[in-house]
Amino acid sequence: MAEKTTLRKEFTKGLLVENPVLRLVLGTCPTLAISTSMTNSIGMGISAMIVLVCSNIAISMLRRVIPSKVRIPAYIVVIASFVTIVQMLVKAFVPALDSALGVYLPLIVVNCIILGRAEAFAGKNSVAASAVDGIGMGIGFTAALLCMATIREFFGNGTLFSGADSLLNLFGITSFTGIEIFSRLPESLHIEPILILILAPGGFFTFGLLMAVSNKIAEGKGKPKAELRGCDSCPMSGSCSLIARDEAGDCAEKQPAQATANTTGGDA
């Protein structure tokens, strides 16, 4: 029974409270780049989720075998293998999605969410928990992408699910190619799509708005805000000379144990 509740907790935390994109602020690059269209974001979300679940399981199984000093290269090799497999599958079965995602599909290798979960969770937990964590985080990532893409595609392009046939082809459906909305409005209500939303600045803007909303919801559940707290969010914080020197400073205070552990591990 206890096992079951913790598994459920591992699953649900990824959806909102520890949503990888909106709360942990990981995987920002593919989020901003891909979320211009709902079809692409679903494709990206599912690809990343498959890689995440598989790599979480594999790394969790190997966690006693991998020496801790070379764990990052080992994780990368595992993740890269799964990304290669996924990329080949996408190329073979959904070629239109492959060309739409472009370089961001192979870039899943260095996606912070996947490496972050391997490092923070799969390397320390059981196989079942890691798999469930991967599914939860993957759904959270897909949901956040889809939220952003809905806003950006609707206002920026005036459509929903445009180009959906590239995904639905997989199931033999070719008739549904998305919903045109703005172009169907009557002449008196005619409005142009707001182009800036599908460009980079609109991506950042939508991202900020969604983060604010998710912060508000999480605040209601008594969780701290997701914000860039000095050195916490910096991946180099473990080996940063500024932290070591500025021992009385804010950053060193917050995570002294981790900082010293990482410095000794890295420098030795």
Partner: protein, 344 residues
């Protein structure tokens, strides 16, 4: 009574200025009126509709966003009205009204209130709204300019014109005369009449609202740059320079937008650096970029640099001895590096 007041010792500040935010903003509005009148005369009554929509939506979104954020009502300082008028000045008179309304909401809610309200905006709200509109609706913002006085004729479509800067870039098209350039030419609502803009600028200077350092150096930098560039490439460098100075949004930007208190440097030295930077970026975009106009981008870019300019040009308080540069700091850094080396 007055003697008594002289004897009362109160805490500082002892010197008070009668200038309040609302009085300054009222002065700016008064200074904008000649250009608004000129805009209505040149482009017709639609100008009033556009200005009405931008001002109305700016005031409305200021009120609603302050309320939603549970902050005090700041409509009384008139800054939202000024933003509205300046935004309207940055739009073509033919723009669909809902786009003008959208721009107003962006200016007030996103640029101003989300960053903390008046005095906290990191760039000029009206200018950023203009850029958002320009990127979002390039067709409506950058083509189909109404020609000056075209609204009096029935067949308006035949009388749309390229802006002088675009015509200057093409070379083949006919240019307005310099007289037309100074008083009435196609373009955005507020930039069509240079005379009215200069009149407004003079009023602001006389009232002491702005020190004309930024406009002078901004326009001056563009003039010098264009004279040199014109001498190298054009037949008549002087005419070319005059067209560059009177064309586009240079005067509107230099007089009313680059001088915004919240987004321009505090010291005179800082203002000069800011204005020269604006002028250089404007000239480079106009001459070498693929856009005809660069005033809005140059002001926004320099707005972002203002905190750094302020830090670099902070005046030293009276009596402070300047620290020698190659002293303690370097030693400190070296010591830290040694400490690091020892650790590893």
């Amino acid at each position: 009574m007055s003697d008594e007041r002289l004897l009362t010792a109160s805490a500082s500040p002892h010197i008070k200025s009668p200038a309040t935010t609302s009085r300054i903003m009222l002065d700016v509005i008064i200074a904008l009126i000649p250009s608004l009148v000129a805009g209505v005369l040149i482009f017709g009554p639609r100008v009033l509709a556009v200005t009405g929509v931008t001002v109305g939506f700016c005031v409305l979104s200021e009120y609603l966003s302050r309320r939603a954020m549970k902050r005090s009502n700041t409509l009384g300082d008139l800054s939202a009205v000024v933003t509205g008028v300046i935004l309207a000045f940055n739009l073509p008179s033919t723009i669909p009204l809902w786009m003008a309304a959208f721009g107003s909401v962006i200016a007030i809610v996103v640029v101003k209130q989300m960053f903390g309200g008046i005095g906290q905006n990191f760039v000029n709200p009206a200018l950023l709204a203009r850029i958002v509109l320009m990127v979002s609706f390039p067709a409506e913002m950058l083509s189909g300019w109404a020609n000056a006085f075209a609204w009096r004729n029935d067949n308006i479509d035949a009388l749309s014109a390229a802006t002088p800067l675009a015509a200057l870039g093409d070379g083949a098209k006919e240019l307005p005369t310099l007289f037309q350039m100074f008083f009435a030419r196609p373009g955005c609502i507020g930039e069509a009449c240079a005379f009215a803009l200069i009149l407004g600028g003079l009023y602001l200077t006389v009232r002491g609202v702005v020190i004309p350092v930024i406009p002078f150096f901004f326009v001056g930098t563009v003039a010098v740059f264009m004279l040199i560039y014109g001498a190298a490439t054009q037949e008549n460098a002087l005419t070319f320079t005059l067209y560059q100075l009177l064309g586009g949004g240079l005067l509107l930007g230099a007089i009313f937008m680059a001088t915004d208190y919240a987004t321009s440097p505090l010291s005179i030295k800082g203002k000069i650096i800011f204005a020269v930077g604006c002028g250089l970026i404007t000239s480079v975009i106009r001459v070498f970029g693929n856009m005809t106009e660069g005033v809005s981008f140059s002001i926004i870019l320099m707005n972002i640099l203002v905190p750094h300019i302020d830090r670099l040009t902070a005046p030293t308080p009276f009596g402070v001895v300047k620290e020698k540069k190659s002293g303690k700091k370097k030693e400190g850094a070296e010591a830290a590096a040694e400490k690091e080396a020892a650790k590893a």
